[in-house]
């Protein structure tokens, strides 16, 4: 193998990155330094990531269809989904804000789903295509995913603040919970994915 630790019979601890000599005939070991589980690669990485991706893709539907909050004013109710919230911001001419919310709440989750799906599929198919770029894509996905939570926090702050009785009241709705679920699940999915798999395949091809 191309100089990888696994090729040299060494496993790396996921948590403290300690090199461990692979015990022969065992699938996993305990890290002598931090006590965490050590595998050659994250256990069932592709399957788990794929399953979590499917789950978040399913949650993504109610997250966008159901309202995330209800604005009540003078006895009239108006429910907003993620997208209609962005549309309202655009209508009121607040396009910088609309851009931020659109990016964080629409672009990022979709890109994340697509990127992780692409990584899983490419690894599954044993692709050796641009491993460094794919690793960077993975890192960006990991880094940017958390910013999708912005809309959840907006709903939280609005629901907490706008409680002025008959004048205006904001109530968080179940759509927000589903959306939060999407963000959390995709974050877990990103974590269960093992980027070393990208390099394993390309090393194998090269040899």
């Amino acid at each position: 193998m191309n100089g990888s630790a696994a090729g040299a019979g060494l496993w790396t601890c996921h948590d403290c990155h300690q090199l461990v000599v692979a015990p022969p005939g065992h699938a996993h070991a305990a890290c002598p330094r931090c006590g965490g589980a050590v595998h050659v690669r994250k256990a069932a990485s592709l399957q788990r990531t794929a399953a979590l991706l499917v789950a978040s893709a399913i949650l993504y539907v109610p997250a966008n269809v159901l309202p995330v909050m209800t604005f009540t004013s003078m006895g009239r109710q108006q429910s907003d989904t993620i997208l209609s919230g962005v549309a309202h911001l655009l209508l009121h001419g607040q396009w910088p804000l609309a851009a931020i919310v659109f990016f964080a709440s629409v672009v990022v989750p979709v890109l994340k789903l697509v990127a992780l799906a692409f990584l899983v599929i490419s690894v599954q198919r044993g692709s050796a295509w641009r491993p460094a770029e794919r690793t960077r894509l993975y890192r960006i996905t990991e880094l940017v995913g958390r910013w999708s939570m912005v809309d959840i926090y907006v709903v939280t702050v609005l629901a907490a603040l706008v409680q002025t009785g008959s004048v205006a009241a904001v109530e968080a709705r179940s759509g927000a919970f589903f959306f939060g679920g999407v963000v959390v699940l995709t974050m877990i999915a990103a974590e269960t994915f093992d980027p070393r798999l990208i390099w394993d395949r390309c090393g194998a091809r090269r040899e």
Binding site: S73, M74, R76, G85, H88, L89, H92, V167, A168
Partner: protein, 536 residues
């Protein structure tokens, strides 16, 4: 290498570990944290409890305590008393407000109220109820308060003076009714109550500074409630302070001698005259009493009924009673009248001279006669006139009072009065009143329309421009409130308009009865039309 050995060895100093500059960060953090905590704790004001009847519209952590519409405290807890008889509200006041929390400080809840009497606080429908405070730095510091049931009309911060008026009846005087001086509102009625003795009604009024100076010791107060339309023997008189007073009533006062009298003290007691006219009636010192005997019915003649000479008032009836005349075995009705000779300049204040002159007039034909003063009310008056063609008579002396001879009442005059009265009824300003009411209703309609449009606007978007519109709405609601209040006052069961209308209608009804009586009488005695009503 002895040379080398001679060279002294340098001292090795182990440098003590230097404390890293990074520790500045947590130190600054600790300082900032400590400062924030100190600021929060030091700015905490006193905690007070307010006892309320109920907590309708109040919310812990949201309801503010306000003074002059500025927040000075916040309701933190709302609990029911152990015996369930009241609600105890715990509130945190601002620190700088602490010294105004004394025995004299008053709290009350401001919320939208639509009661039989009035519509108030409509603006709180939007902003929610709040607790208002009337601070006072006099008295001992206090942390437990009992809220007032109703908002006080005049707070202790307002400059001015309170006075007590005594009235025979409450009339249409309500709390909040304006007090006028030269038709300018200078204060209002703050309380009306029946005196414990039950003999009169006390009306507390508050006159704002600097106008309280206008209330002098010799000031006279009168009730200018509604349009003071009085139907009496002289017909209809309309007297009013202003249109507002016409709608909701009012109290007027004057200062007959201006600045020469000293200003009245706080709490001074005045009597409240039923109308401005009663104030204007001059008081005549010299009164001479005479007796007159009428043979027919004196229904409509009361104590106070005018005594006129050819239509000019010269006195009034002092007493009317039924008397059994033992000698003649007959019933008679002696009527005592008071003549005020000063009204006609009959004397320079000398009673004997005045009596002599009247006696001479009687010899020249002066006779007393019952006349209908007002057909609507059936009121009678005693008319004095010279009838030179009548057989001579003279003042009978010997009784308690000298007696003036009388002649019977002519009926045609009654008929003449009917026409006059009806004309006056026609001139009652009913049209204007209706127009006024219509205007108020139109205004209210417009306000409601505005409110509806505003609500629609608010609902158009998640981010409505409410800040501007809220103010507008509040103004609108305030307008609606005052309009409603006027309308309500105008048409409420106890409103002056209603009372006056009811009275007028009752009077019209009795006028109709009188007319029917007249018609019946003429039916039975048609000859009276020609010969005049003479006693049979």
């Amino acid at each position: 290498m002895s040379e080398v050995d001679d060279i002294p060895e340098s001292n090795i100093v182990t440098k003590r570990r230097r404390i890293s500059a990074i520790w500045i960060i947590p130190i600054v953090a600790a300082l900032v944290g400590a400062w924030l905590a100190y600021k929060t704790i030091s700015e905490r004001g006193p905690e007070i409890t307010i006892v309320l009847h109920d907590a309708e519209g109040l919310e812990a952590g949201k309801t503010a305590i306000r003074y002059r519409e500025v927040m000075v405290g916040l309701v933190e807890t709302i609990e029911i008393a152990e015996d369930l008889s009241h609600v105890v509200v715990g509130a945190r006041m601002q620190k700088r407000f602490a010294r105004y929390l004394t025995d004299d400080t008053q709290f009350w809840v401001v919320r939208a109220q639509v009661t039989a009497g009035r519509v108030t606080g409509l603006g709180t429908l939007l902003s929610g109820a709040y607790i208002a405070v009337d601070p006072s730095d006099e008295g001992d510091p206090q942390t437990q308060f009992e809220a007032l049931e109703d908002p006080p009309l005049v707070t202790s911060q307002e400059e001015g003076r309170g006075f007590v008026l005594r009235a025979e009846t409450k009339g249409s005087l309500e709390v909040g009714v304006p007090v006028y001086f030269r038709q300018v509102q200078v204060g209002e009625v703050v309380r009306t109550a029946l005196d414990p003795s039950g003999a009169f009604v006390t009306v507390d009024v508050f006159v704002r500074a600097p106008h309280h100076q206008r209330v002098r010791r010799d000031s006279r107060f009168w009730n200018s409630s509604g349009f003071d339309a009085t139907l009496d023997a002289r017909g209809v008189r309309v007297d009013s302070e202003s249109v507002v007073a016409m709608m909701i009533g009012g109290v007027g006062f004057d200062a007959p001698t201006g600045d020469t009298a000293p200003p009245a003290d706080e709490g001074a007691v005045f009597s409240l005259h039923p109308s401005k006219r009663d104030v204007d009636v001059e008081q005549f010192a010299l009164k001479q009493r005479y007796l007159v005997h009428f043979k027919g019915s004196v229904r409509g003649l009361e104590v106070g009924s005018p005594v006129e000479f050819r239509g000019i008032r010269v006195g009034q009836v002092a007493d009317v009673r039924l008397q059994y005349d033992g000698a003649a075995e007959d019933l008679s009705i002696p009527v005592v009248i008071e003549i005020e000779p000063e009204r006609i300049g009959m004397s320079g204040g000398d009673p004997v001279q005045a009596a002599d002159r009247l006696a001479r007039l009687v010899e020249r034909g002066l006779r007393a006669q019952l006349k209908s003063g007002n057909l609507l009310t059936g009121q009678l008056l005693v008319d004095l006139d010279l009838h030179p063609k009548l057989p001579p008579a003279s003042v009978k002396r010997g009784g308690t009072y000298p007696e003036i001879p009388t002649i019977p009442t002519p009926l045609d005059e009654l008929a003449g009065s009917v026409t006059r009265i009806l004309e006056k009824v026609e001139r009652l300003p009913l049209d204007e009143l209706t127009a006024e009411a219509n205007g108020a209703i139109r205004e209210l309609h417009g306000t409601l329309e505005q409110t509806r449009r505003f609500t629609e606007k608010v609902n158009e978007g998640l981010v409505p421009r409410v800040d501007g519109t809220i103010g507008q709405t509040q103004a609108t609601l305030a307008a609606a409130e005052s309009t409603l209040r006027s309308v309500e006052r105008m048409f409420g069961a106890e409103s002056p308009v209603n009372v006056e209308l009811a009275r007028t209608l009752a009077e019209l009804a009795s006028a109709a009865r009188a007319l029917r009586g007249l018609a019946d009488h003429l039916d039975r005695h048609p000859e009276d039309l020609i010969r005049g009503g003479s006693e049979k």
